[in-house]
Symmetry: C2
Subunit: 151 residues, 2 copies
Amino acid sequence: MIPRKSKYAIQALKSLAKVYPEKGRLAIAFIADQERIPKKFLEAILLQLRNVGIVGSKMGPAGGYYLLKSPDDIALSDIIRATGGPIALLPCVSLNFYEACEDCPSEELCGLHEVLEEVREASVRILAKTSLTDLIKRESKLLKLSQSTDN
Amino acid sequence: MIPRKSKYAIQALKSLAKVYPEKGRLAIAFIADQERIPKKFLEAILLQLRNVGIVGSKMGPAGGYYLLKSPDDIALSDIIRATGGPIALLPCVSLNFYEACEDCPSEELCGLHEVLEEVREASVRILAKTSLTDLIKRESKLLKLSQSTDN
DNA sequence: CATATATTCTACTTATACGATAGGATAACA
DNA sequence: TGTTATCCTATCGTATAAGTAGAATATATG
């Protein structure tokens, strides 16, 4: 499970991606309202995303946050990792949050380790190839589909 | 991330699989010692596995736990789920621990939902096709490999 | 039947992380 | 200079994970 923080981050960045690059800037309060994210919590999240170079910010009136890279180049895996969400199922197979099992005599001889590495690779493969732009495209497809099919 | 409980469960069942079906029975204390799992904690875990029908138990001297099914038919996904470990990255894409996002207007229109479903499917595909027997086979392969290569 | 052995069951503890909030400091624009 | 927005540090409650304690129950064996 990834923390809610990661989910909020993806939602917020999706909002920013939709106005990229013109205008580009959105205020915390605006995003919080639009995406139904607690404002103060979102503030902390955006700060974190700024510290890893995903977004930039401007203070003062007409200030706000904006993407520092094209939404084509921001993958879900980047966002999840930046917000502390491990993708792996155990710390011992995590690339970014690695921690050895205290009780494990040898990682190289552990069958579970090997299997969970495969799981992680499969997960990362999907998350790393899905960009913010892809997310948005998916949603417009889903919307069209639901409109044509019925309601 | 799956809880440590799930990892312990897999280790314990691996021990039981190795003595299946002859003898078949192992005491908590024995498994705890062999796998370096806190005894009282393992006790709770095995009880849980018994309640979902993965293992059976016998009280008294020469008692202990044993597999109720062939280790060929016990998949890692079964064990993880039985011990409360969600495989999905968000509750809204979990098959066994489903919970809707409070802030989500429509799951069917959510791009993230769609992507994370793919991730879950990929993960489950691997975990469901890996049995205890497979785990053990993998480990003996890894052992042989490490012995022939060098140390 | 008594005793030793092992599981069963309930309850508790402790630590940590998640999710969220408060409030003042700082920067920028008009 | 006032207003708007981010910046920053500190705090807090709650849930869950991880592990512990101890008595009750069942069963083999002498």
